[in-house]
Structures are given as structure tokens and as C-alpha cells.
């Protein structure tokens, strides 16, 4: 079972800051502390969400990371050495060339642990689709063995293994090539938070699909639709990873789940309340019923995050659902193959 940890300074409950009113929690060291704990507990990736996404807003969010996520990811990559790092970035806030550079740089800095959570503007599917294609084409600017570093011949790379995209589409005009070395993963992982408006794009371009539903039945349906969309895009279910977003609400044995009622619902995640054993059972049942590869947890409070790490993660390990992961890159960890450069398949780099 794969596990992701969605990072926030106080917890994902909009009122969580009231219980932990400490400005230091907005700082890098406290956030790194959370990530280090998740890494030690065997989590496969940390998700850096960005409430901002599409527009500037009226104040800092108490539930999203307090820094621009792609740069926060770069900083984190040098201080946490194993966990994957998936940063949200909007297709509206960055030009495709600039965004491609950020993530290609992050993949080098993290030594192959970078992922991009694509945040789209739902108003124009054609633009979003073209945007992702331009970014991924730029990531294929150099073949895997393009860089020679041949001092004697004075040849830094083999020019025949450089690909200039020369993209001219309805929305973007981008010459290329990307001026960053080839990614350690071939290219960074692409993740989507699955919704109605981005389903086709997510199914066509995503390596990791994050499902959001409010009920178990809703989750089973959403997973079935996602698989159908992936297959309709001509891809195999085995080539992607499907994870559900969950809000864990852990109660002690004597409390009963009534104590969980203080936590409101979330539209991006399903609430799972109970004791350690009950939650673990529910995760296993949900994974089996919906055919999931794992879960991304959205701790409502820092305490719930800590309890998931110290109680449920060990329980999952004990039941053999998680274990040591030898993968060094994020794709390795998720059991996905390294991205193969299209030249190896005899394809043009921009479809």
C-alpha cells in the first residue's frame, strides 16, 4: 500500500490553527519536522498543496503550505533524503517553459523524487491540455544518454540527442529546448487531483491520480470512472497509481467515534474515524473495494498527523501492507517504470 502525506502548517481543518497558535509552525523548520516524521514512518511522498492556485487572494491560507510550493519543494529536497516530493503548481501562475524548468531542476536537486500536481484552470480544457503537452515535451529535450562531458573532444552533449520542440499551438508558442539536464526519473512524475473537468487530461497524462469522494460508495464509483478514463486514453491500469484522499480521525478505544463529530466534512477527502484497528480495517476494505493502490492522508490537526504516523503506519506495516521500499526515485517507490524517451520508441516528442 502506498502512502502520501499532505502537508499543512496546523492541519487541514480550517480551525486547526486555533488549537496550535504558534507562528513557528509557519516556518520551514516545523514543516521539515513533519516531513521527517512522515519519511521515517515510511510514507512514499509528501504533497505540498497550494490553495492559491488560480488567483491571488485576501490572506495567507492556514491550510496550505505557507510558501510557494515549487521552491519550498527544492528546499525540502536537500533536507529530507528519501521521501518523494509532489508540489502543486498552477498552469495559470507560470509560463510552461518556466514551470518545466522548475520541476526539471527540482528533479535534479531531489535526485529523482519530484512530482508535479497539475492545478488547472477549469474554464478552458484545450489550453490546459496543450500546456501539459508543452511541459512534458520540454522535459524530453534531451535523451537519456545525451550528456557526454567529454573534456578532450570538448563535447558537453551529443547534439543529435537534443530535441527542439518548435511547438506552435493555439495557446502557446515555445521553441525549446529546455535548458536543464535530463531528469533522473526520465521526467518528473505527473499527478492530478481528479475532478469532473480534468478527468480526460488526468487520464491521458497522469502517473498518479488522487481521488476525492465523500463516501465509500462514492469512492468506488470514482475509482471505476478513473480506470475507465485511463483505458479510454489507451493506457494500462498498471501504468498509473490510484490513491484516495482521506481525513483520518483517530479516537481512543473508550471514546467511541462520537468524539470525531467535532471535525467537519471536507470536499477533497473522505473522513475515516475510529480506533487504530478500526481505521486500519477500513483502509484495507476501501482499498480492496475500490481497487486502490493506497491513500494520501490529510490530517485535520497536527495531532492526528502524529497519531497516524505513530499508530496506524506501524499497524499497516505489521499487517504486511507496507514495508521497506528500496526505490530511490519517486517512480521507483511507486513501482512505476522510469520514463522512456520517445526517441527510443520512434515517436515524435510532441503528439
Amino acid at each position: 500500500m502506498l502512502l502520501g502525506y499532505s502537508l499543512s502548517p496546523f492541519g487541514h481543518d480550517p480551525d486547526a490553527w486555533r488549537q496550535a497558535r504558534d507562528g513557528r509552525l509557519l516556518g520551514f523548520d516545523a514543516l521539515l519536522g513533519q516531513v521527517a516524521a512522515a519519511e521515517a514512518a515510511g510514507f512514499d511522498f509528501v504533497l505540498l498543496s497550494d490553495r492559491l492556485g488560480l488567483r491571488s487572494s485576501d490572506d495567507l491560507s492556514s491550510v496550505a503550505v505557507p510558501f510557494e510550493p515549487t521552491l519550498f519543494a527544492s528546499a525540502l529536497a536537500t533536507r529530507a533524503s528519501r521521501i518523494g516530493i509532489i508540489a502543486a503548481a498552477s498552469t495559470v501562475q507560470h509560463e510552461p517553459y518556466n514551470l518545466a524548468r522548475r520541476f526539471a531542476s527540482l528533479d535534479l536537486i531531489s535526485k529523482g523524487r519530484a512530482g508535479w500536481l497539475v492545478v488547472t484552470d477549469d474554464s478552458d480544457a484545450g489550453r490546459e491540455s496543450e500546456y501539459v503537452d508543452v511541459v512534458t515535451a520540454l522535459w524530453d529535450s534531451f535523451e537519456d544518454d545525451a550528456f557526454l562531458y567529454d573534456k578532450t573532444a570538448g563535447r558537453f552533449f551529443d547534439p543529435s540527442k537534443m530535441h527542439v520542440a518548435h511547438h506552435k499551438g493555439p495557446y502557446f508558442s515555445v521553441r525549446g529546448p529546455l535548458n536543464v539536464n535530463r531528469s533522473p526519473q526520465g521526467r518528473p512524475l505527473v499527478a492530478h487531483l481528479l475532478g469532473d473537468s480534468n478527468k480526460a487530461l488526468a487520464a491521458r497524462t497522469g502517473d498518479l491520480l488522487l481521488l476525492q469522494a465523500e463516501t465509500a460508495d462514492g469512492l468506488v464509483t470514482a475509482a471505476a470512472h478513473a480506470v475507465k478514463a485511463v483505458e479510454a486514453a489507451g493506457r494500462s491500469r498498471r501504468g498509473i497509481r490510484l490513491l484516495a484522499n482521506i481525513v483520518p480521525i483517530i479516537v481512543s478505544g473508550s471514546q467511541g467515534t462520537d468524539d470525531a463529530s467535532g471535525f467537519p466534512g471536507y470536499d477533497q477527502a473522505i473522513r475515516i474515524a475510529g480506533t487504530t484497528g478500526e481505521i486500519t480495517d477500513q483502509l484495507l476494505e476501501l482499498a480492496a473495494a475500490a481497487g486502490l493502490d493506497g491513500f494520501t492522508i490529510f490530517p485535520p490537526t497536527l495531532e492526528m498527523g502524529q497519531r497516524f504516523i505513530s499508530e496506524i503506519a506501524p499497524e499497516l506495516r505489521q499487517r504486511g501492507m507496507t514495508g521497506p521500499n528500496a526505490g530511490t526515485t519517486l517512480r521507483d517507490r511507486l513501482g512505476l517504470a522510469r520514463w522512456v524517451h520517445p526517441s527510443g520508441l520512434g515517436e515524435e516528442i510532441l503528439r
Partner: protein, 438 residues
Amino acid sequence: MSRPQMKLGAFLMAGGHHIAAWRHPDAHAQAGSDIDHFIQLARIAERGKFDMIFIEDAAAIRERNPDLASQAARSTAFEPLSLLAAIAVNTSHIGLVATASTSYTEPYGLARSFAALDQLSGGRAGWNLVTSASELEAENFASSGLRPHSERYERAEEFADAALALWDSVEEGAYLPPDGKAFADRSKLHPVHRHRKHFAVDGILESQRSPQGRPIMVQAGASDVGKDLAARTADVVFAASQTKAEAQAYYADVKARLAKYGRGHDDLKVMPGISPIIGATEDEAKAKYRALQDLIPDAVGVALLASYLSIQDLSAYPLDGPLPEMPQTNLIQSRQQLIVDLGKREGLSIRELARHFAGARGHWQVVGTPSQVADAMEERFLDSAADGFNVMAPLFPSGLEDFVTLVVPELRRRGLFRKEYEGRTLRENLGVASPNKG
């Protein structure tokens, strides 16, 4: 310390500033994609108590011809802000200055990115504002081609004002106020509403207030409008000057512009580039220089010279003849003039000019012993040609290591450079005014 204090920046670049640095036997050829290499360089500079490290940028490959591009290590690099974010959490005092273009980014995204670097570093971020003059960059962002020089600066002026306004949209202590009623204290948030010709900006910056008030502004503009923009908005200017007279003229010109924006002489630090090649003896330094120059392929040197001159091709002219006459272009006019002047003044051939510029890329080159290098710096510092220098080591890490272990102690003996950092933020160490205090 009664003497005025010199400011020092370390201009970092993969294997070194010399165009052929990566081919040197001592060079780490993969330095440009090795984050640990850059963290090591930043720590060496921090050990030497440098004010800042500096990263240049181009949002494109720098050479259109694939064969020439494939011979230059500068063809690929880390995106500067990503690189400095990683360095920020592995250093404690040194300033972090990244180049970013006003032509190919938007004010909100850029202001937010530098705010993030400032938060991650505890107030050590700086933005080197450039308008980007290359056609190759333009082609990565639109089909309309490069904007004319005047329009680029008009956009840059508006961009800089929007970024400054966004950084000032959040006051100190705007979040988690002591009364505990709401997450944000709205009286400390000042949404920006600016609708101008190039940009519409609405809202506040999604960040806490910068620990140094706001990030340090850096520029290198040498055209008339560029110098005015610097005098109005910048804390530091970089400059490429070959001779002392050129450096003094530039220094006097920029400083003279400060008064009309209500700023004092010391509110803007002028830091020209210096390319030092250091040897225990003068002969050793010269031998180091020759060994590097011999590694420059003529085709690469001449192509680089052509790109500085903004002309398509120089290969039609005899290598051992003079530069052809050429019209002033829309591009980086100041650097073009500098090259033409040098060629005429010293009667240099295309090959000689190409090697000269390929080596230090238009900056001031000093080849000598640590005390000779310190002499040269001291002279320009005391004679109103510079407030400090942006040090461009030909080879990394050795050139920077040499500077820190040999030249920095020499500058300290002369009372010209700090022994300890004055503060924790870049603004404190540079000694420039904080926007909080007007």
C-alpha cells in the same frame, strides 16, 4: 573599523566563469547539475563572509546552433530560484541573489517566488531584475518576437513597482495576532489594486512579511533608462567595466541619479564584476590563465563574441582581422559598445577579442598574486569606481577557494573587509536602508 567596508558577491557558475572551465583537468564536468557542488560553493563564500552569492539566468538555451551549444557547459543550468531555495536551507548568513526576467514572468508569481526564498532563508533573498535581450528567450514565450528595448523597460518599470507593492501588502505580525480572534489581522493586510498598461494586480501577496522588509533589488542595466530604473528602485547594481576610467564614469553617473529620487549616496551599492586569476607568484597566475585560454575552441569564442555584439555571424570575417563596422541594435547596447571600444583602443583582431571576452565575458580581469589582486581592488574601491565587487572565479571550487583563503585575509589586513557578518539579513549586511524605516 574606521575605513569604509567593501561589499563582496560571489557570482557562481557551474564549473567556472571561464567559457572552457568544464574542460580543465581539475574541473567537475557535471557541476552544473550537481546540487551538492553548489551548496559547497555557497558555504565556501559564506566562510569568507561574502555578502551574497549571485546566479545569472537565461530562460533559453544560449546558442541556436546545436553543434556550438553542445560544446558549452552553460547550455544547461538549474533554474536560479530553485537552486537558491535549496542553498537557503543549507547556509545561514550569505545573501542569495537570483536573476529573473520581467519580460517572461508576471509580477504576482515572481513576487511570491522571491517572498518564498526570503522566508526560507530568513531574509537573505535578492532579485536581479533583467529585461532579457535574447531572441532565443523570446521564442520560448511567444511568437511575436523580442520586444524593442524601450518597451521592455516600460514593462520593467511597471513590473518593479507592482512587485514592490505586493511585498508591502503584508505587514509584520499580520498572521496569528495576539487577540486570537482570526487567523489574519486584516488591518495589517493591504490589498494591491493596480491596473496599468502591462499588468493588472489585485490582492495581497500570499506570504508573511519579509524578514528584511522586502527582498534586495539588484540590477545591471547600463543604458540610460536602465540606470534610471536602478537609481529609483535598486539596492545594488552590477556592472561590467574594463578600465578604471569606465568604472569611475559609471559609478559617478549612477550615484548622481540617486538625488532626484530622494535617495542618498550610500543607498545604492555599485558592484562591478572582477575576474581574478590568482597565483602564488605572478608567473604562476599567468600560467593558470594561459592554460585556460588554450582550452577555448575558436568557433565557440567567436560565436560568443557575435552573440555579445548581437550579430548573426562573425565567421565570414577573417579571424585575424578587425571587427567589421556594425549598426547599433535593439539589444544590449552598452555591452556592445564596450566591445567595440576595446577592439579599437587596443587594435585587437576578432580572434583576440573572442578569447579576451570568452575568458572573462566582458568583465575586468586581474591576473596576479593575492596582494596584486587586493591592490587592484583597493585602488578602484578607494577611487570611487566601486563600493564592492562581484567576484567571478574562472574555475570552481578552486578559484573561489583561492580568493577566500588568499585575497580575503589580505583585504582584512588592510581594514577593507569584515571579519564577521554584521547581521542575519542581506539588507543588514549590505547596510542599505530598510523600507520599514522609510
